[in-house]
């Protein structure tokens, strides 16, 4: 039995292919302007990893998720990223009850039951404050790579700088000014991370945080955010070895369930 999950996010597109319950392929690329093309590309590349004459047709069931889920032409069914992230995280960490998924342009706090089924969730609103995109802009403004942002933010000199604007765009202006005033790079980054945690925390508060806690999505890779959040919550965060594929994995698991239940 071969099933696949494909997660088309605003920043990255991910594919997970399962043989029975084993993950055989993980693959992700950056989402291009044409979401449909992106979905073909990422899937084809993933299939090629199994072997070259493997095609979409040879997969028994495909579930698409992510904001681009509806445009994936070859999916049998679509499931929202919310359900998929719960399921994916639950696969890695069966004891998880609260999940934070921080994607490119939204941020979800999800609580699930022992079966990995969503029981409640909260999402941020029509503003990019506290999202992956925000961090991208910060990194690009300061001319550093997204990967370095987290570690650097932990080496504060005078403590986190105050970035007063919520707005992802204006934060960039603030940062520019701070730079001109000669504020240390790390302090600015620390300020940016603090800012994000400040935006995320209320979501988790409203949801009510129950152990275990897990973070997925691109931002989970950012040690600057994760460690600060762990400190604020006073609990350890579980993070999958590849936090970006959790959604796609969840989709693949749903595909397996649907196939078995003949749904």
């Amino acid at each position: 039995m071969i099933t696949a999950g494909i997660d088309i996010g605003s920043l990255s597109a991910n594919v997970v292919i399962l043989r029975d319950d084993k993950i055989t392929v993980l693959h992700n690329i950056r989402t291009g302007p044409d979401t449909c093309e992106t979905s073909w590309q990422v899937m084809k590349e993933a299939l090629a990893m199994i072997d070259r004459n493997f095609s979409v047709g040879s997969i028994d069931y495909i579930v698409a998720t992510g904001y681009g889920r509806v445009v994936v032409p070859f999916s049998n069914k679509t499931v929202t990223e919310i359900s998929c992230h719960a399921k994916g995280n639950h696969f890695f960490f069966p004891k998880v009850r609260t999940i934070l998924d921080m994607g490119g342009q939204d941020c979800k706090a999800i609580s699930c039951d022992e079966k990995g089924k969503v029981t409640n969730f909260i999402m941020n609103d029509k503003c990019a404050a506290g999202t992956g995109r925000y961090l991208e802009r910060v990194a690009s403004t300061l001319g550093i790579s997204l990967a370095d942002l987290g570690p650097l933010s932990l080496q504060t000199v005078k403590g986190p700088a105050d970035i007063s604007h919520y707005c992802a765009v204006f934060a960039q202006q603030d940062i520019l000014l701070l730079r001109r005033e000669g504020v240390h790079l790390s302090d600015i980054l620390a300020g940016a991370c603090e800012g994000i945690v400040k935006r995320i925390y209320p979501l988790l508060q409203q949801l009510g945080i129950r152990a275990d806690f897990a973070i997925s999505g691109g931002v989970a890779k950012n040690i600057g955010i994760v460690s600060r959040l762990e400190k604020k919550l006073g609990m350890k965060a579980n993070i999958a070895f590849d936090s970006q594929i959790v959604g796609a994995l969840g989709a693949a698991l749903f595909a397996r369930d649907f196939l078995l239940s003949g749904n």
Binding site: S10, P33, D34, T35, C36, Y67, Q105, K126, C127, A128, T131, R133, Y134, R137, C167, A168, V169, F170, Q172, Q173, L176, L177, R179, R180, E181, G182
Partner: protein, 260 residues
Amino acid sequence: MSVAGIDSGLHATKVVLMNNGEILSKAVLTSGLEDAYTIAERALKIAMGQCALPGDSYKYILATGQGKSHITFADESAPDSICLARAVYKVLPSVHTILDIGAAHTLVVKCSKGIATGAVNSDKCAAGSGTYLEIVSAILGVSFENMGGISLKSTEKIEVNSQCAVFAESEIISLVHSKKRIEDILGGVYRGLALRLYPQLLQVGLEKDIALVGGMAQDIGLRSAIEELLGHKIMFPEDPITIGALGAAIVAEEKVKPGK
């Protein structure tokens, strides 16, 4: 008697030197990662270099703009609203409403005879600022300068609703993906932008004539979108970028005028 006006903006610092109402010289420097003080100092030097007068012949230096408080070598600082009102009165005396759109702010000033009588300032959200357009130009791969012109070729009305610049990004990407023409997308972008500026304009009363100044004033796309919205022409000075600095210089002159 000579004076200097400095407008320390986020993206550029402008200097105007004046002598008895005559502009001696101007200088515009785009800000890098230098602090406001240093770059203002440099801009001032450049401007001074353009005219023969010795450095100490400048009786009064007045700073305005978002970085004004950092320019400690200036004798005084004054709010943008006051400087804009003075300058626009000098170059476009019939104007009663000034719309100043810069990189990160939008300021609407109500004025009569060079006196600012009201001002509405917005900077809660980038949706109405030049930065928003920079993001758009980056997504569409169109140069910032050409966007306006292209938007005028729009034939189909498209709505770009996203308040948030970052969300507009994905909205625009999906428009591109659905094979919409760049011209029409830009048309929508400018219309949306004008619509978001509209409440602010209405708040000060929209008394004619209306002038568009600041970094964005040269953007023909924005200008025509606003004119379309208001249903009449708006004015703009030939050098809209240095208008704040000019105002600062005028206010400086008032200070040194004998008897004042």
